[in-house]
């Protein structure tokens, strides 16, 4: 942590682009945090039906113009930044974290470094199917029948309880038998790859449309879907990189010196992974920031009273001449992604430089 702060201070002094980007991001962060307390002349959802599609810079009140319902573009751009970043950053952070952990583990342990007893494997499978039934299928059925959620909680409890009994009660007994105590290689890598293949062969759009067929997508639901689908890209990158790194001489050396798996992964491998993962992260944030416009293009219903850049941009479809609907949110979008890119580029650069020394 201290090293990171030092890096930032160093970059601040030497690179003007980094300083600019950091200043912008900090400014944006503060504005976003304080936005609900800033006295603005309009709320983002306030309609002004007398002033629809007002061009920018002509009006005292709507400085950046208005959209098809007379909503103020400036206020919507600010609130759009808030909502967009509050969706995109956590989603990409969690997705990257999941992706990197899964990818690193799969790449490092491969198919034949982890061993399990046959009995444990059997019990594990049983536990998974129990959890699937009691914690997913039954609650879903209860939910679709409109039954009280208390029943779902009972079911989930039963699921966890049963699998707990299986794991802690039955597993020790079963592994006493000679057949079940035989060690088998746990194909972690193959399993991960197949899961990734399954998830990524379902087009994201199909998942979104299918989910929208059950309930109107909320921000929470969208976040979950995005996390579930975005982690695979990072995971594959991390795995591929890990496969490469695991072969390098210094890892072998580290093993012979007696470093533990955890030390090897965190000290040697992860810093090497940083650069591609950060690139994927920045790109992911960029594509998520205006995703609503694409979704509304496809007719997937997002809450219509959620101010976002995508909502403002999508307004151009009802008036092709309203360039300001694209220019301002688009400009902010571009600046934000650019700033993120500049910061991450310099940071990755300097961290890697130090790792090599």
């Amino acid at each position: 942590m201290k090293a990171l702060l030092q890096d930032i201070a160093h970059l601040w002094q030497t690179k003007w682009s980094f300083r600019l980007a950091l200043l912008y991001l900090a400014g944006l962060g503060i504005t976003i945090a304080l936005l609900p307390f800033i006295p603005l002349p309009f709320t983002p959802d306030q309609l002004d039906l007398e002033n629809v599609f007002l061009a920018p810079f002509n009006n005292k009140y709507h400085v950046l113009g208005t959209d098809q319902l007379g909503r103020d573009v400036l206020v919507n751009t600010l609130y759009g930044a808030r909502n967009g970043l509050l969706l995109a950053l956590p989603v990409m952070a969690i997705a990257s974290l999941v992706g990197v952990s899964v990818g690193v583990l799969a790449g490092y342990f491969g198919n034949n470094k982890q061993y399990l007893k046959r009995g444990s494997l059997l019990v594990l499978l049983c536990c998974l199917s129990l959890l699937l039934y009691y914690n997913i299928i039954v609650p879903l059925q209860l939910f679709s029948n409109g039954l009280p959620s208390k029943l779902s909680y009972t079911s989930m409890l039963v699921g966890v309880g049963l699998s707990g009994i299986a794991w802690f009660g039955i597993k020790p007994v079963i592994t006493r038998f000679s057949f079940c105590s035989r060690q088998v290689a746990f194909p972690l890598d193959s399993l991960t790859l197949r899961t990734i293949e399954l998830i990524s062969s379902l087009p994201r759009l199909l998942i979104l449309i299918s989910v929208a067929a059950f309930m109107p997508p909320s921000v929470m639901l969208l976040s979950v879907i995005f996390i579930c689908t975005y982690w695979t890209g990072t995971a594959r990158l991390a795995r591929a990189e890990m496969l490469r790194i695991a072969q390098l001489p210094f890892i072998e050396a580290a093993t012979t010196v007696g470093m533990t798996h955890r030390q090897i992964i965190f000290k040697e491998a992860v810093p090497n992974l940083l650069s591609p993962v950060v690139v994927a992260f920045v790109f992911g944030v960029g594509s998520l920031l205006a995703i609503e416009s694409t979704l509304s293009f496809l007719g997937i219903g997002l809450p219509a009273d959620l101010p976002s850049w995508g909502r403002t941009i999508a307004g151009i479809r009802s008036n092709l001449g309203a360039w300001w609907l694209v220019a301002f949110p688009g400009g902010f979008l571009a600046l934000t992604v650019l700033a993120l890119q500049v910061c991450s580029y310099h940071l990755v650069h300097i961290t890697q430089g130090r790792a090599r020394q």
Binding site: L142, L147, L237
Partner: protein
Amino acid sequence: MLRYLFRRLLYTIPTLWVMVTLIFLLSRVLPGTFGQEQISQAGEGFYSKGSQQQRNAAHEQLLARTNQHLPLFYVTFAPLATSQATSNYSYLLPDLTWNGTKNQYHIWAAALFTGSLGESFASSRPVLEILWEAAGNTIWLLLISMALTIVLALLISVSIVQDRAVKRRRVLLSFLILLDSFPVFLTGLLLLLLLANPDALQLFPVFGLGYHHAGEQSGFMSFIVNLPHLVLPIICLVLAELPYLTNHLYTSLKGTLQADYIRTARAKGLPQNQVIVKHALRNALLPVITVLSDMLPALVAGTVVIETIFAIPGVGRLLVTSVLARDFPVIVGIVVIIAIAKMLSHIVADILYALADPRIRHNQK
């Protein structure tokens, strides 16, 4: 190498089967069935077209005709009864029924063994034929745009990785990032507004894959004739895919250039260009293989937005319309084909890895 490939393919088959089964079952979770809405909605209006009862009967006939009245799988959970759930805990016990071979999955899977993906509910054409047609419409588009993307990405990344090109690098990289954060539909729309609009520049026709021509033409001729129609979608696709690929290629090139053997090569006095192309590029391509192998199936799946804007009937649009119409055989068919493409591209990626880096091959054995 061949044995490795063979084993890899052999392992793929059971995985594929599990995936296909899952996809089949998941698709049927979607609420509603084909035709249900149209049949029931004909009833509302300024006069009634048949009674409710008759419409229900017609819907049942449709279900029976398309085998949708059968249970989904060999075993099914009995649906939870509302009364049973509220009175005691008996709802926690799974209530399983055995359906035998008279179930939708069995019929579909048996047909799959004979190489048939079923027939579309909407047009009663074989799904494979529909898919083939849709993929055929976009295949040229996708191949050309992908080739262009790769070439452009290589050119850009090689040109900006050199030490002299600091300014160019900054400008190009920022531009690419900007490009990537823009929604595809906006890029397409802007291209149309700028390059196919009588109010601006009218260089290209707006939509489609050409018009009706009297008389048949050979494949190549029709391709040439339709080329102007393809220009805008190709530009749009390239712009959409270029940033990500370039960035990856650039990062990995830069990483390789810092490796020891490159320094040795440079110390030997080789010119920088030559070092990059001869030594660094090959190694730098390694992580790019992953990105490319992820891109390939995505291209098969098509890009709904581009297909919609430029009115090209590709797989993406087919998927969306069949999901909205609940044309289950087509949905499952498309996803299965995409899954196969994905599997194959992953295998290809593995092989390329093995070819590019012999050490990995040893490990796999």
